[in-house]
Symmetry: C2
Subunit: 108 residues, 2 copies
DNA sequence: CGGTATCCGTGTTGATACTG
DNA sequence: CAGTATCAACACGGATACCG
């Protein structure tokens, strides 16, 4: 494998390595379809601005879907795409490895 | 898997997701033992300060070794630890996936 | 409800020059 | 050779207030 070929990986890593991103992906992976407010409560402490940023980025990169219904009040739901689900497997391996190294007691 | 258990993963991701970090790991994985100057030339465009930062962080987290010889001029070499090599496997999976998604034409 | 706008403090990065 | 020191520029996260 040549050096240049890890550029996509770097891009992917940059996307999922933001401070809350893992929690968001995890929460969606665990709970399936979720609404903005649910996510906001589950990913405790995140500000709406940052949550929106993360969701937009994940959406733009095809990792989550965004379902918009312009009812009153509006309803917006998020869900992992196939890519998002595909991502959870290698991420699980990394997680297993990270837990072994750093232990499960690690706090962020 | 519970939410809290991805904290170590987040820590690990934060460590390897810095701008140059992947290239450094890749280069070390490919070339084996390397000296500071070699790395600096190979990871083109990186400043010595940032290269040092990355190497220190990777060293502190047990991903690379640092060999120091106080000859004149001094010789410092770096190499992946067992952890570092262990890391390359799941990372390879992610890389394969990232290349498939984003293509190999991606530039950083 | 599901955001956006704004401001601000902080962390990260880069360029450059210098040192043991 | 292998860094460290210094400073400036910028991106980022956090809090809050407001909007359709």
């Amino acid at each position: 494998m040549k050096d240049s070929e890890c550029a996509p990986l770097e891009k992917l890593l940059n996307q999922i390595s933001g401070q809350w991103t893992m929690y968001i992906l995890w929460t969606l992976d665990t709970n399936g379809v979720m609404r903005f407010g649910e996510l906001r409560r589950k990913v405790d402490g995140i500000s709406p601005k940052v949550l929106t940023q993360r969701l937009r980025m994940l959406e733009e990169n095809g990792i989550i879907y965004r379902y918009y219904e312009s009812t009153i009040p509006p309803q917006v739901s998020y869900e992992l795409t196939e890519r998002g689900k595909e991502l959870s497997k290698p991420l699980y391996d990394l997680c297993e490895l990270a837990s072994r190294w750093y232990g499960d007691e690690t706090k962020m």
